[in-house]
Symmetry: D2
Subunit: 395 residues, 4 copies
């Protein structure tokens, strides 16, 4: 088939009423005709297309991602307390089993303490001047006018609050990093809109005006960065547990002293590699939770960064913590209200207003469970054999 | 509801026959009872649970992630040639529209050239010795026995080929990074198994034995790292295009010279922030493609890294390239054979054997389209307004 | 000679009066006897040993590092204005000639604008708690008691002023980064002492006490770090110039458009390599200035980080800036008062009180000159030939 | 004084015979006249100006940097064996005393094992093509012609050997990193010249030619980078010791278990900060050694990177290693033959041919001593008090 016909055929859209079953079917027919793909299952969804404006364009159908149920995850958060059954949407065999094993051990050891320590969502415009001196002086002007800038930003949002503006000077520029709290929304759009309003206020009020680019790439949105790890993006959450020596040996076949010794190896490997994470695989649990619960899955890029810190206690027990410095979650807006996504958030008691801190604590607890399980498998030597047993999925 | 009952209730499983509609329903009932969540839509899937062994444990149901159709993406790859209609599974409004806009511009400018320049999947064991001298000498021994190590590794796999072993010495350790080609599979499990066999051969043959940890965290699996960007993980793919000055102005409202000037700002922002990516939002397109097409979505962590390199040409046209140095994809194994996932790969002509290079080229082309569209929106100033129009999704 | 005699012979010291010519001679004799090294030139110094307490222990003699004179560097700083002749202490042939060439071009182009945009010196203790929640709450307590903490810190110093305390939470810890201005001193000792006093005040006043380590390695002293680049350590200084197209072509043989095109290549190389600096060789000029002018040369580790940002102007001229985000300099205390060091600072009009900002501007101007010269040599192709001519130094 | 006279006065040079005492005096007079600086001590050097061609231009005089003698450092290297007395040129009070203390502890604990594990010096040209495909194919061509490229490179040098060429593909470029061994020379000039010859051979032989920039900034010369840490620049050296619990407590007042617990804190601080070094202050000892021994001091930028790896042993003793992955040293060429510099190398038995590996081992041993001493001071709490005692140097 020669695909290079010119001009290319455009995907069908209905100007007035595009979010319908029939338009989805029309697009599937269009695609089927051009590619031979049946798209039969893609068309077999139960969600109502009328709920989709604001979430998708050119709606075609739905991906069905299998969900496994892990748990209970026993949590002692400030927002999440008790036993949680966790929906993990993934196609990677062993993942659910491994997280489940970690949760079992944690429950035996008394559960996980989870704490949200900070919240901040950003938009980081760059302001461009003739020289560095003008940029620096502009920074002082911004500091002096913070209250007005805050008012301009917050006029665009019911929920977002501008907390502070960080400055990063380079050459004739000043990168400003606007830090907001955004309630239970992840907040990228909210902060984009608020910051635009703030920048427009600045450009109008600053003597001589001010040229800006709404993002100078220091947000850093949808990208891992050291800056995000340092300065928090989304929520900074810590999950902690003390693993009893006897329990780790019984459930995982691993001695706590050996685990602590091997942590020194992993730390060095991650440090030398210039890694975003000195732990194992936070991305696995987070991606699975994000898909199930209607999060912006691209934020796995920022959210998978993590810092593992452990200590072997005098009695042989093992303190293990994981810090997620840039976990981006929301329980309001975005994809959280869609059919299965909302159900999964409800399964965790996190849907809607007031849910985001709870959901963040759950995320951190899930990650900790996965870290302990995988690290133990690597040390114990059953990592490969378990994937052989649970992860064989060739057609 | 007090969730801290002790002992915790275990998720129901059927020892012999767990991948059935009824077991999924039993688990939903179990969860419903404990949480009140209806899980009605989660239970309305069309995929056959019998296809799921190797992909999920404790199957509960399916997440329905809406798919939008973008395109056509006009590609001049070595494997992907012609016009492609691209399924993007996301809940983020504007995403499909924005990528679609980028594809339109690219098609007008003659399309995208995409090239896979390298392939490598890794497992990186750490070998531990009494001192650095022993570790160094062990490295020489490994080099001298490469053929035998390769034979031991490849005995475990039909497809994987051990290409080389990189060495990273630290203290009394030697981290070895085994680099494989893995055909059309993403290859993490394959390389894990092969490397374990290689390590066991080494431990048996090396005089005095050899203590190892199968991963010393230099793989770096499910984590962004500078090492992955440098040494390639998965595929290293480049997408390139020349944007005609007139076309960029007409479609995006942006002048090429202005775009190039603003790229200097973005480069500096990314560099200073210690970012994984000096571009805009590769993670968006990749996450949407990965969900639709049965990829391991956690690999967004590695795959979203990117390097943008551009030049303004003498005639005012604009050369734009994006390099994805650690794009992890497969079209065989993993989640690729599931119901909707397979259909989406078929929509792209990428399902199964021979599809991975083609799919990698498509991924790079999609990312390039998204970069151009978002960067233009930031410069032109319609970034916020388009999200306001397409991304309003509050309940 | 068998050096492993046991117990080892200790270096001679005089308990009461160690800073004398005769004790230096006695130590040279001690060393001469054990190693055969003549140490003749090492003993031929003109500095007065009595000036050395506080700068060295076990004084043996002096290294003679040749100084070359470059310049004039034409500067339009806020503190350094006019033409400066710059002492560069180095043993690397070509270095002085290359910097000199850069200064000549810059003078022809109207000189360098240099600006100190920020000042901060740090000490970063880690406070350790039982869990993350306690660490977080401690952070709030610190914020609430900032005035008292500031008073405790500043009680130890006439000059240092505590400006703010940054927080970085990890696991059950809170890293606090105390940011001071330190006048014309580099300030590491001053801030160490002040922060210790602050920590002791905190430990005494915080309910339940507070365990701390005076440095948790987030200072990050004598080490490059992304954090230092982001948050400033020492002074953040920018040097800028507009290179006229004709002048660059005449002096360097390089076209501005070619230089700008090649900058895209260098940017990408630095970004991909995970480099501390997207420019060429700031460390060269800084090390040479630091040795000549009595700076702490180990701070080249932090100070050599730099961000180059350039734009090609519409008229073909070339705007070039370099930002040194963590330039650590002092003109008071440290080695600045020693014999030759003071003379070199006086040569620049920077010795003593009020000199540090001026010296920082000069450093940035020198670095810019070196960047332009080396980058031009690489592009023009005379890089190797000039080293062949000026850098042949085999015995 | 108005310094902005135009045209600027040029520094005096003698076209034929510039390396003389009288020309140095003439330049001092020139500078004295314009700045009022006496430059008396700068003029009181014992080195012979006739030895300076190849090391400096516009010779003015010499910096006198005080040298302290530390040691003995007891080493069990492959090249350095026995007790060494170490010349440290610095103006930072406490530095010599602190390193000395570390050496004393190490001698009591049986000395330091030091090992050079790898050697490599680089030049990294970027080759530019029309598209990524051409760049990739060029890479294959380079691999296929390695023997000829090696011959072309090595034709320029008696000592340098091209070991391998690493490839880094980005957009339409291929960065090649030429890795050489360079004997006892640091080798930057040698590898620059050899690589230029290789590139010229390539440009002449490659079908269609090849455009290159001799450095695409992936060398990464005079700059810290993750790439240098991973791939070695200069020498990769490890120093190791086992600290007896009793000895650490007696000499430093610190318990090994406490030291190991605090190492977890430092590791996390360095990791989070994006630091070049998870240890304390390698730059201090290295800068002092480099100045004393005629090294290129700007290479502190690369050389100060380090990885600390430790383990607490079952008997309570403490294994401590430091790895310097990019230590750049030479004992031949550069500044090594100058008057005091040569004497200091002779003091260590390292001058000239065969000395570089020995010197590298000494560097690593010195760094280890400094790490142990400073870390102990931080833990024990005498860090500030010792600086107060030994580092007070205000005029």
């Amino acid at each position: 088939m020669d695909r290079s016909q010119d001009p290319p055929a455009k995907v069908p859209r209905h100007a007035a009423d595009d979010y319908t079953t029939s338009m989805a079917e029309r697009r599937r027919a269009f695609a089927r005709e051009r590619t031979g793909a049946a798209l039969e299952h893609v068309g077999r969804f139960s969600l109502d297309p009328a709920t989709l404006p604001g979430n998708i364009e050119n709606f075609l159908g739905a991906a069905q991602v299998p969900i496994g149920l892990a748990g209970p995850l026993r949590l002692h958060g400030e927002h999440a307390q008790g036993d949680f059954y966790v929906p993990l949407a993934t196609t990677e065999g062993t993942l659910v089993a491994s997280y489940n094993r970690g949760m079992r051990l944690l429950a035996e050891c008394g559960g996980v303490k989870a704490t949200v320590v900070e919240q901040a969502m950003q938009r980081a415009p760059a302001f461009l001047f003739d020289d560095a001196r003008a940029a620096r002086d502009f920074g002082h002007w911004v500091d002096a006018h913070f209250a007005s800038i805050k008012a301009a930003a917050e006029a665009t949002t019911r929920i977002g609050r501008l907390v502070r503006i960080d400055h990063y000077a380079v050459g004739p520029m000043l990168h400003l990093r606007f830090n907001y709290t955004t309630g239970d929304a992840a907040g990228q759009n909210m902060t984009g809109k608020a910051t635009l309003a703030a920048c427009e206020w600045i450009a109008a009020q600053h003597p001589g005006g001010a040229k800006f680019l709404l993002s100078g790439n220091m947000d850093t949105d949808k990208k891992h960065s050291r800056l995000n790890m340092l300065a928090t993006r989304g929520r900074r959450v810590v999950a902690e547990a003390v693993l009893q020596r006897e329990a780790l040996a019984r459930v995982m076949g691993v001695d706590t002293a050996e685990a602590f010794a091997m942590r020194q190896v992993s730390n060095v490997g991650a440090f030398l590699a210039g890694s975003s994470n000195n732990g194992s695989h936070a991305a696995n649990g987070l991606a699975a939770l994000f898909i199930a619960c209607g999060q912006d899955v691209a934020n796995v890029a920022e959210s998978h960064a993590a810092v593992t810190y452990t200590q072997l206690l005098a009695n042989g027990d093992y303190y293990w913590s994981i810090t997620l410095p840039s976990l981006i979650v929301g329980t309001y807006g975005g994809g959280t209200g869609l059919a299965t996504q909302r159900e999964c958030l409800e399964l965790l008691g996190c849907y809607g207003s007031g849910g985001a801190d709870r959901f963040a604590e759950i995320c951190a607890g899930v990650v900790l469970a996965g870290e302990i399980s995988l690290a133990s498998a690597v040390i114990h030597g059953d990592w490969v054999s378990s994937h052989d047993r649970l992860g064989r999925n060739r057609p």
